[in-house]
Amino acid sequence: MNKTRASGRTVGGLRTLSLQAPAVTLLLLWMIVPLGMTLWFSFQYYNLLMPGMTGFAGLENYEYLLTDPALWAAMGNTLLLVGWVLAITVVGGTLLAVLFQQEFAGRGIARVLAISPFFVMPTVSALVWKNMMMHPSNGVLAWLSESIGLPAVDWFSSLPLTSIVIIVAWQWLPFALLILLTAMQSLDEDQVEAARMDGAGPVAIFFFITLPHLKRAISVVIMIEMIFLLTIFAEIFVTTSGGPGLATTNLAYLIYIRALLDFDVGTASAGGVIAIILANIVAIFLVRMVAKNLED
């Protein structure tokens, strides 16, 4: 009995291995080869415009990058972008999830409309906002502020980073709403009813029942958004190209400039390593949380 079970397990193990092999092998290559190359290049002199200059550079690329004021400007912009978008989408998403959980006429359609921006490709959202919404003379926002007697704002020249924050927040607010709305569905209605019976007002119910219930979903939203927001690219590419000056250059855009505009492979790779490290700090927490969930 024991023997057959043991042999059955090895057969199963072998089958498991061979069925997973293609997916696992490809993902392993996808992870290790580019990662290894980035790491290798980051220690090399390697500029596509200067083919003669090659060789081991030690930490020089990192030194060059870390003493470059552009890196610190980009880091600051990345932090501001991630921080503001997170604040807007998490607070807004939670409030909207509470609103769309209430029953009202046509709730289903209203929900679908509110979630829609998440499915719009980034280049479309960025260009629609830049032109039809935020254009200083013909945009809808300019028309709105003029019709109430205020001067029109030239969004992308006077508030470039704010403009990017607005566009990105518009794309990710529906994501937070979608996830939190799903999490709301498992909220215990009886508990809410009992609290109401005990005289708890809507504000108390929100802070003492709803919010603690959403805690986990909110942290999932924060971590997933952080990973994507750290490397926002297309929205900047089609609107400001990182400008004016460095006002909207984030880490991802700086790496792109170094790699594909300056052709400085070494420095761009050092930047890539920094981006990977930053993303991994967040990723460790997310993976831990998912792992915990896998056990239940």
Binding site: G12, G13, R15, T16, L19, Q20, P22, A23, L27, M31, V33, P34, L35, M37, T38, F104, A105, G106, A110, R111, A114, I115, S116, F118, F119, V120, M121, P122, T123, V124, S125, L127, V128, N131, M132, W143, I179, T182, S186, V220, I224, I227, L230, T231, F233, A234, F237, V238, A252, Y256, A259, L260, G272, A275, A279, V282, A283, L286, V287, V290
Partner: protein
């Protein structure tokens, strides 16, 4: 005493009914206002697509004579169809490949788990967290040296690998939800593994596989980092084509809107259909 209490009780219930009613009206107003404000840029874009270029930059108005000239111009002058075809090929090609690789893997993980299964799943998830920009340089150089730059094949490879972890993960959760008894009954009746997969597992989990595939199509369709960096003209999908409207020469809002409406319409509809299952894939099962 009794008459008095019944007298006070009656108006109270009426006012209670009234306040519930006015609360509902208030919620309806608030909910719809918020939804319409969020949706407004998309609505405005759809509307602008049916305007002439001069009407598009005029003062905002809902009254105008709709025209299809921008739609015609987008196709005739820039060959919209070619870019749309690239998007379709890349999104469906990569989704097909990802499903092909992921179905056996997820099957093994769900029905023949070993000690390492959990670790493998989590490791797959962690590859998804590698920021694309961190590997831009090597991927660009590899593509340049192998002639994959600006080819659909190149993008399909990237998108397959990019979505593979999510696809495996989502399929795994769907397969796990399937009752094991059915598979065992099939095995008792002498079904081979292949028969088991093709005649039992796939038909029974088809809705799950379909929504996994749709999520993968949506993610590939909207991906804009690799498409902007690895394609120029031949293999450029819609994300890259729309980006070409960012050049500052002249304002072509009506054409931009017409092209954008066509580019997002199919995905918007797919997204509406699959929003519930998407949560599963987007959060790796951490929120159900």
């Amino acid at each position: 005493m009794t008459t008095l209490s019944s007298k006070t009780a009656a108006p109270r219930s009426v006012s209670g009914w009234r306040s519930a009613q006015s609360k509902r009206i208030l919620l309806t107003l608030l909910g719809w206002t918020v939804a319409l404000v969020i949706f407004f840029p998309i609505f405005w874009m759809i509307l602008t697509g049916f305007k002439t270029e001069s009407a598009a930059i005029a003062d905002p108005t809902l009254i105008f004579s709709p025209t299809l000239e921008s739609y015609q111009a987008v196709q005739e002058r820039s060959g919209y169809a070619r870019f749309a075809l690239n998007s379709v090929a890349v999104a469906f090609g990569s989704t097909f490949l990802a499903l092909l690789l992921a179905i056996p893997a997820a099957y093994a993980m769900a029905f023949l788990p070993t000690k390492r299964t959990k670790g493998t799943l989590l490791w797959m998830l962690s590859t998804k967290m590698l920021p694309s920009v961190g590997v831009l340089v090597p991927i660009y150089l590899i593509f340049r040296d192998t002639g994959l730059l600006d080819t659909r094949t190149g993008l399909i490879i990237i998108y397959t690998l990019m979505n593979l972890p999510i696809v495996v993960w989502m399929l795994y959760t769907f397969f796990k939800d399937m009752p094991k008894d059915i598979l065992e009954a099939g095995r008792m009746d002498g079904a081979s593994t292949l028969q088991e997969v093709f005649f039992l597992l796939l038909p029974l989990t088809l809705p799950g596989i379909a929504s996994t595939g749709l999520l993968s199509v949506i993610l590939s369709w909207n991906e804009a980092f690799w498409s902007l960096n690895l394609t120029t003209s031949n293999a450029a999908p819609l994300t890259a084509y729309i980006a070409s409207f960012s050049s500052p020469e002249g304002l072509f809002w009506a054409k931009l809107s017409a092209a954008s409406t066509m580019a997002i319409a199919p995905i918007l509809i797919l997204g509406w259909m699959t929003q519930k299952q998407m949560v599963r894939g987007l959060t790796f099962g951490a929120v159900k």
